[in-house]
């Protein structure tokens, strides 16, 4: 019994009681001390019992001295003073080891009273709210993780962050340019990446404001191009923001005057850029993108502008993507589109215009598909080579083959260039996808597009493959689109187009990146034109310049087996394809603005087929930025 009680309760021994009594000057008998000790124990327990009640009602788990004193007070016992301090009291043993006491130092009251360092006191009691949003199934999302974290940054970074975001989203275009440039080259802002990504994810909240969307996309571009940044998994977030701009029926699209098409084009360009340069950071990104594009495309409920975005996006991802996703889906999609295009009612005018946009985008994508496919077939050897590089690239996560081919790969003399182009196209292997033979594909496409396809396709360089110049070179001009070679054709077709071209300082974003392959020298010299020389002077990759050079002699289409009725200006269609390639190849390289403006094209003979092309939506204002204009260029406007 005794043992058990000892385990349960603190006991006051009779010796202690006797000692206490002694110190109070009372002599206690043994008997008396024992009885007293027992009673003291009981009273202590009683007090402990009742003071726990105060603790419970104060909703605490910790019993305080205050609780105990309250219990004492309510049972008419004097409270024990002096133990209310928050800090623990040191409990010491005396020298003999038998004696324990609480250290109670003397305090100099005068010192305390006259002390000049007045303690600050404790912080004001306050209430803060924290919200857990339940999604109905019980999952919890905590609110606003990022903004609170911003506060933990160093002041400098914080200031930088504020200045940059303010400049980019602010009114001053000059300031914005500076900010973007800095964002693109600053090597010390890696810590801010999450916050910029967070800012960019704000696209969803400004979908009504094209200007802001544009700025945010520029921000993406700067971040993507910054060589010092490792984007890591933030790529995913960036991609989703960009995809939003490509695919979503933005609020700004409601007003037909808003040129959201350009925005989508730009975003698509950016997407391919991110994908080729940083695609390796996130596994499966390519598939995810393709899937979401496919989903949008196959959703008839989505507005046409979304479909347009999907097509442009696929186009930007390369012809393989087009072949894999767009081509098989085309028959199903065509019916819808046809219905839209055939509706001539006034109320349908706007939708119809949108439909033409989509039509144009599909046409462009499909053309390049045909062309690239033809090309890949025509140069099996190259193709193999490219496939290799491509697969290498694929191993690295689909990074652009155009980029990936290290200089060595290009060393294959003149073909290097072509190979690099093809690599670009072939770089995105899409597993278990059964290729359709080229003629079959052509036939099918022809059934949709009729002559407009045939015309454009055939406008390519001469049918006979035996080119007097290396096929690669032929193609160059097209890819390089902007290239001088192409402009003559484009100019004829659509005024806006040419305008864009001439404006295009887009060199900066474009693929200058490739290091000049040795082959260039070999290939270049023969064909170099006067203006190409200027280009060459620039540090552009030799291949590029080579392409530019070749611009003129594009008559040779190596592989074309289709007899094209007309021998129209060959450049036309190829320009598009070629340009695409060029885009794809651009890597993340320092911005280069060196660009030789092309002379305005001479008058171009009207195209015979021009009338067959659907005339689609008009772009009200000339596109301001080269970047934006890329894709709109591709469309027969």
């Amino acid at each position: 019994m005794a043992e058990r009680e000892e385990r349960r309760f603190a006991q006051v021994s009779r010796e202690s009681v006797a000692l206490m009594a002694e110190s109070a000057g009372v002599e206690l008998g043994e008997e008396m001390a024992a009885v007293l000790a027992e009673d003291v124990c009981y009273r202590l327990r009683e007090a402990a019992q009742s003071c726990s009640q105060f603790m419970k009602h104060a909703k605490r788990k910790k019993l305080t001295v205050e609780d105990f004193n309250r219990a004492l007070r309510w049972s008419n016992v004097e409270a024990v003073c002096g133990y209310g301090a928050q800090d623990a009291l040191p409990f010491r043993s005396g020298k003999e080891g038998e004696l324990f006491f609480v250290e109670d130092r003397e305090i100099n009251l005068i010192e305390l009273a006259l002390a000049t360092n007045i303690p600050k006191g404790c912080a004001e009691t306050m209430v803060r709210v924290n919200v857990a949003y339940l999604d109905g199934k019980g999952g919890v999302e905590l609110q606003g993780a990022v903004p609170t974290a911003v506060q933990s940054l160093s002041d400098d970074l914080l200031k930088y962050y504020q200045q940059i975001t303010r400049a980019i989203l602010g009114d001053d275009p000059h300031l914005m340019k500076v900010a973007l440039l800095d964002l693109q080259s600053n090597s010390k802002m890696a810590a801010l990446l999450p916050y910029f990504v967070y800012v960019i994810s704000g696209v969803k909240s400004v979908s009504h404001d094209l200007e802001q969307l544009n700025r945010l996309l520029h921000m993406v571009r700067s971040l993507v191009q910054n060589p010092y940044l490792y984007l890591g998994s933030y790529v995913r977030s960036l991609v989703s923001s960009v995809m939003y701009c490509i695919l979503e029926p933005l609020a700004a699209s409601i007003n037909p005057l808003n040129d959201h098409w350009t925005l989508r084009d730009y975003a698509a360009l950016l997407l391919s850029n991110i994908f080729w340069t940083h695609g390796d950071l996130v596994s499966g990104l390519y598939h995810q993108i393709l899937l979401s594009l496919q989903k949008v495309l196959s959703d008839p409920v989505r507005p046409l502008c979304s479909h347009y975005g999907a097509v442009v996006g696929l186009h930007a991802l390369g012809w393989k993507a087009v072949e894999k996703v767009l081509f098989p889906h085309l028959p199903a999609y065509w019916a819808n589109l046809q219905a839209v295009l055939d509706d001539y009612s006034v109320s349908n005018a706007q939708v119809k215009a949108d439909g033409h946009k989509v039509y144009g985008a599909i046409l462009v994508a499909v053309e390049r598909l045909l062309k690239m496919k033809a090309l890949s077939l025509s140069h099996p050897g190259e193709w193999c080579f490219n496939a290799q590089t491509g697969s290498l690239a694929a191993a690295g996560g689909y990074s652009s083959p155009g980029l990936s081919p290290p200089p060595q790969s290009l060393s294959e003399a003149a073909f290097g260039i072509a190979s690099h182009l093809q690599a670009g196209s072939g770089g995105c292997p899409w597993e278990e996808w059964a290729p359709v033979s080229l003629p079959a594909m052509y036939l099918e496409l022809y059934s949709f597009f009729g002559d407009s396809l045939a015309v454009r396709f055939s406008t390519g360089p001469g049918l006979d493959s035996p080119p007097y110049c290396p096929s690669a070179l032929l193609r160059e001009p097209k890819k390089e689109a902007l290239g001088q070679g192409s402009n003559s054709d484009t100019a004829r077709k659509m005024p806006q187009l040419t305008a864009n071209l001439s404006i295009s300082p887009r060199r900066d974003g474009s693929p200058r990146t490739d290091p000049p392959p040795p082959s260039l020298a070999a290939a270049g010299p023969g064909r170099s034109l006067p203006r190409s020389s200027s280009a060459q002077r620039s540090r552009y990759s030799s291949s590029r310049s080579a392409q530019r050079l070749t611009g003129l002699p594009r008559d040779v289409f190596p592989k074309a087996r289709f007899a094209s009725p007309q021998n129209g200006p060959p450049t036309f269609s190829f320009v598009i394809g070629g340009r695409q390639m060029g885009q794809r190849c651009q890597g993340r390289r320092p911005f280069q603005t060196v660009f030789a403006p092309t002379p305005p094209p001479a008058a171009v003979p009207p195209r015979a087929y021009a009338h067959k092309l659907p005339v689609i939506g008009r772009v009200g204002k000339p596109v301001r930025r080269w970047t934006c204009s890329h894709y709109s260029l591709l469309l027969p406007l």
Binding site: M1, R4, E5, R8, F9, E38, D39, C41, Y42, R45, E46, Q49, Q53, F54, K56, H57, A58, K59, R60, K61, K62, E66, R70, W74, C122, A123, E124, T125, M126, V127, R128, V129, N130, V131, A132, Y133, L134, G136, K137, G138, V140
Partner: protein
């Protein structure tokens, strides 16, 4: 608003002994020169003036009939100051009338009880029953003999008969202690305390520390144990078995204890299973007697006041001014009256007098209805978002929290005696201007209510100073003009939220007041404290209107029924009692918790009650049938907060274990099988479906959940202070 008289007042003159008791009290008062009290008591009891004088001669023949009738006439004006003298106390000691175990009485004689409170109840009287003793050495033999018998009976009876162990054990132990057989008592305790149910652990701890007769004096828990009979429910068959056994063995010692200290509620039918018994046991004084829960309870909701029609008109005007469409109103009106047309379970509208609605109340009602239309319907598939209000820098000093019904204000009671009020909305808290400034205001202007506020005083929070001890409970008035707080200093204070000053200090408890709450209609409020009683007050009376006595230990929490006709109290004696505000009677006793009850919540429809205790369990009760409905297990520490969602679909519970849990209340109530047998016997079969009913557990960051509140749109607000 002066309450009009309502209901019928009980006749003061009951059985002759009651008269005698009264006379004794009067005599006592006179002896103590409390002539005023004598007068009041005499008048209210309806005794003739000469009753006392003639007492010696014919105390047994008071004239009751006529005077009883007179009571009604006399007190017609002051409705709530009626006296219904307990009919059950029956103890000769005068104090027992007021402090004893009677659950029945409404005693307006609080002055009296205060006056005699310092007199300890006569322990010798109370304990005298223990004086008869047998051979102390035989106690063990008796007990183990019984134990052996009970262990050998059929399974179906064993569980029931095992209930006898604990009360027998306690009483035998106390007898030993009382008769100074200390060592035998200790040995007895040592031998058998391990056999007792684990949920009696706390009581056993108290018992074990008590080893001397002197200790019993002043130990209130034990006095209560002694004076109240421990209630057991046993089937007739089991009881016969036990009786036969004890008589065969001539085990008089035990038989005497059973006869004197136990109340065995015998029922016909199948013996209950162990789980059934365990569900209901655990309280300090056993289960509730069946008849204790037989009274009719009007748990239905009151009709929305008649004024609703003019209210709608006004509202319409108001809306027109705002240029809003008219047609919405009539629809709402019809909807409102349809749902409230006839509820057979609702009390009469004027069963207790309620304050009239003011214009501002009507406006608030309109706001409420508007908000309700936007309410999110919660359910198993649709859980609410939770906002957690964390009190920072409170240094574990936060003791109570309340939100206004519209969730615009939050108030906290602190251990440092302060009450702080925060505005949760951007609207700042402002005081009314001083009297001098008020004189300058154009009182005719439309925005006079705005003009009386002093912009200079605008701030996010205000601190109310006045208490001299930790503030254990706070409650906003429904109109948001007042705040109640109760404290360890024994007072309940009423604060104005217009001037942010204290208006009244209600003194009466004299001991720490653990909880207080406003009636849902305002005006009345209830408080409960360490003195084991709950009191009903009206804001304009400085004395309580009712005293609800009956709990055997502290009243730890008090809540008003949504129809304001009932008050529920939870206590450290581990029982919950429902009191009728009109009569002051205890109409329900719920047992089943195994620890002090710390929170209670009525379902919005008034039919159900939820309770949470230190045992970490939440129990659901059907008020109409007086039955336990469900047991929600999951919390690992004291449950301090409970709240039903606005539509009653969900129950949220908050606990010391830093979690908020959501329970599917609708399912728990639907599953309830209320066949006649269950209702008649009160024997429930609880399935253990806590896991099924638990919809979610949400952790806070080491912040115990002290309060929960559903906004009018069913967003869940939780509050607590960060415990570093």
């Amino acid at each position: 608003v002066k309450p009009g008289s309502a209901g019928s007042s009980k006749s003061a003159a009951g059985a002759p002994e009651d008269q005698q008791t009264l006379l004794a009290v009067l005599q006592f008062l006179r002896k103590n020169k409390l002539t005023e009290s004598v007068e009041i008591l005499r008048r209210e009891a309806g005794l003739p003036e000469d009753a006392l004088d003639t007492k010696g001669a014919d105390c047994s023949a008071p004239s009751s009939g006529g005077t009883a009738g007179g009571v009604d006439g006399l007190d017609a004006g002051s409705l709530l100051s009626r006296v219904a003298v307990s009919s059950s106390a029956g103890t000769p000691a005068p104090t027992k009338v007021f402090l004893g175990c009677s659950a029945m009485g409404v005693h307006h004689l609080w002055i009296l009880s205060a006056a005699v409170a310092d007199d300890q109840p006569d322990v010798s009287v109370v304990l005298s029953a223990y004086s008869q003793q047998g051979d102390p050495a035989l106690y063990k033999v008796y007990y183990s003999d019984l134990k052996k018998f009970i262990e050998s009976v059929l399974d179906c009876h064993r569980a029931e008969l095992s209930q006898v162990f604990y009360p027998l054990f306690v009483h035998m132990y106390l007898e030993l202690v009382y008769n100074n057989h200390e060592s035998e008592a200790k040995a007895f305790f040592e031998k058998f305390s391990g056999d007792q149910e684990c949920y009696y652990e706390d009581d056993l701890r108290v018992l074990s520390s008590l080893t001397k007769k002197e200790h019993m004096r002043g130990n209130e828990t034990l006095l209560d144990f002694r004076t109240s009979k421990f209630v057991l429910r046993i089937s007739r068959d089991s009881y016969q078995l036990l009786k036969r056994h004890l008589q065969e063995r001539q085990n008089n010692q035990i038989w005497n204890i059973i006869q004197e200290h136990l109340y065995i509620d015998i029922f016909d039918g199948m013996p209950r299973s162990k789980s059934q018994i365990d569900a209901m046991s655990g309280s300090l004084a056993g289960e509730a007697k069946r008849e204790a829960n037989k009274a009719k309870v009007y748990y239905g909701l009151l009709k929305e006041p008649e004024i609703e029609v003019p209210l709608d008109d006004e509202d319409e005007e108001a809306e027109n001014e705002e240029g809003k469409p008219k047609k919405k109103k009539p629809k709402k009106d019809s909807m409102g009256s349809k749902s409230k047309k006839q509820d057979p379970n609702a009390p009469l509208q004027n069963r207790i007098p309620l304050p009239e609605l003011k214009d501002s109340d009507k406006l608030d009602k309109i706001m409420y209805m508007k908000e309700s239309t936007k309410r999110i319907r919660l359910g198993r598939e649709n859980l609410p978002s939770i906002c957690f209000y964390t009190f920072l820098n409170a240094y574990q000093g936060l003791t109570a929290v309340d939100f206004t019904d519209d969730s615009s204000l939050i108030a906290g009671g602190f251990a440092d005696s302060t009450v702080r009020v925060w505005s949760v909305t951007p609207k700042k808290l402002r005081k009314v201007k001083s009297a001098a400034d008020l004189n300058l205001i154009d009182k005719e202007s439309d925005d006079v209510l705005e003009r009386i506020m002093d912009e200079k005083t605008a701030s996010e929070s205000k601190i109310l100073y006045g208490h001299s001890g930790p503030v254990y409970g706070i409650s906003f008035s429904p109109d948001r003009n007042y705040l109640l707080s109760c404290s360890e200093d024994g007072t309940v204070r009423l604060w104005s939220l217009l001037t942010f000053t204290c208006l009244v200090g209600y003194k009466g408890h004299n001991y720490p007041v653990w909880d207080t709450q406003f009636s849902p209609y305002g005006y009345y409020f209830v408080s409960g404290g360490h003195d084991r009683v709950a009191r009903l007050w009206a804001t304009d009376h400085y004395q309580p209107l009712r005293i609800f006595a009956g709990h055997l230990a502290d009243v730890t929490c008090t809540r008003f029924h949504p129809n304001s006709n009932y008050v529920v109290t939870g206590s450290s004696d581990r029982t919950i009692r429902l009191w009728d505000v009109l009569t002051g009677n205890c109409v329900r006793i719920f047992t089943g918790h195994k620890g002090p009850i710390h929170t209670l919540a009525f379902s919005p429809n008034g039919k159900f009650l939820a309770s949470g205790a230190t045992d970490g369990r939440v129990l659901l009760w059907d008020i109409g049938h007086g039955l336990m409905v469900s047991e929600l297990k999951g919390h690992t520490d004291t449950v301090y907060a409970l709240r039903f969602s606005r539509d009653g679909e969900l129950l949220a519970s908050g606990s010391m274990d830093n979690t908020v849990r959501l329970w599917d209340a609708a399912k728990a109530f639907d599953d309830l099988e209320t066949d006649d047998f269950t209702a008649a016997t009160g024997h429930i079969h609880l399935q253990d479906n806590s896991q099924e009913l638990l919809l979610g557990t949400y952790m806070s960051k080491s912040t115990p959940v002290v309060h929960l509140h559903f906004t009018r749109r069913n967003l869940l607000l939780a509050a607590g202070s960060y415990a570093a």
